[in-house]
Amino acid sequence: MSGTLVLFWAFAGLALASALGCITRRSPVASALWLVVTLFALAALFVLLDAQFIAVLQLLVYAGAIMVLFLFVIMLLNLGHPGPMDVKGPVGVGTAFLLGGVLLFQLWILRQAAPPASIQLPPGSVARLQQEQGLVGAIAQPLFDTYLIPFEITSLLLLAALVGAVVLAKRRL
């Protein structure tokens, strides 16, 4: 097994284990921390895919900012201690298993399918692109060129959500 493959399995395992930890812990703080570990493992997987830029952004935005805000809110509202069991009886458990089964089935179908030829890149093209434009340029160029309008629409949506949250939370400014 090559070194990359060993690292892949190690981080994939870590991502799965910590994701399980995130959804099974009773205490919100422990859950949030397991989620941070998951984000770390995912960032490592991005690095293995030669996408260092996305890996770093993942850490910067999710682990560094959003999860800190999560922790902040948990601590501010003093939710840090485990609450009562919130699984709603046999119907809830049954539905959960059903939905989980559907998800597994979908993943299994996905595993059978080969990726369409239109999204497969010729070998070495990513490396060449990064050589030409740099790691950041290879992402920034299409983002602010080809996809400028969708990008701006997304930022407007986020801004609207932000203004909405402020209006809802603070009636009298």
């Binding site: 941070v36 682990a63 560094g64 900012a65 800190v68 922790l71 902040f72």
Partner: protein, 387 residues
Amino acid sequence: MTFFLVSSIIKIIVVFTVIMVGVALLTLAERRICAWMQDRLGPNRVGPQGLFQPAADGLKNLLKEETLPAQADKVLFLLAPAMSFVPALLTFAVIPFATPLPTPWGDVDMVVANLPVGFLYILAFGSLGVYGIVLAGWASNNKYSLLGGLRASAQMISYEIAMGMSTVAVLLLAGNVTLSEVVARQAQSIWFVFPLSLAYFIFIVAAFAETNRLPFDLPEAEGELIAGYHTEYSAMKFSMFYIAEYSNMVTASALMTTLFFGGWDIPFTTWDNTPPWTVLKTVATLAAFCLKVSCFLFLYIWVRWTLPRFRYDQLMALGWKVMLPLALGYLTVIATALWILHAVLGWAYDTRFGLALFGLNVLLAIPLFFVLDRGHIVAGSMAGERA
């Protein structure tokens, strides 16, 4: 491959050791300088000029009793001190500290990991340092600790934005996110502190807030919160928070050096930044880097023993109402100026380019400092002269 692994491992061990010893000496420097500023002697009994004081303190901290509060979350309580100082050390990995060292097996880059996204890596790991403090505050199960942790998270997030924005200006000028390229750009022409003086001003204020040093050490604020997030900690765990604070200072100083003061560059000569690389060049540039970092460390200590602490609302108001709009506005101005100089006038980046931007910065700085000052120091001293 083997050579890369071996040289990397050696670099990791050497850099780690140097930072740890540096941190130990820094605690002594802080106490001696503080004593000097307050006209007393400071610790000077253990070894010549008190040089072995950090070792004595370390030994004392190892032997003292470890306490664990009854209602504390045990795992997180133990984990928090480590989590606060690991990011500070990891950040140092991408900072270039000298010119490449020639060895019989090839040149060795004097940086632990020359990442292509080095700069963003620093921002990412810089933002993780807050976890240690927040978790220490929460896991202690003490209301003062919790308040300290809450303050730390709010403060770090607020100032991170201003810090990131101020460094975007550096990236615009360098045209690259690799730190060795940023240093090379400055070595060829002029240090970025001149063309980007205001960005440096924003960065240094944000860096003081990010490292929780006075005048922004609200998370511990002993006057109101006892000792904030580390109230419940004792012995070596308490000491770890101090190690974390000082490692953060070292990293922040190294960052200021790298981003704004030319990194390992020796000014007024191009001898040091052109191949062939020699051992002498490596040593000389390393000395230049260490000297610059020490200056900033001294600045940290100097400011700590000079300025009183801010009030919490003042800190937040400064972050969101002054630093953030300032950084954003400055970024717009700099981007426009760069576009005019590059695209309209067709200048390449050289000393003339840097000096033109420096002129712009001076023009912007004069009204800015009059507004920020609000008639306290600049106008106040003028009024004093008239009287």
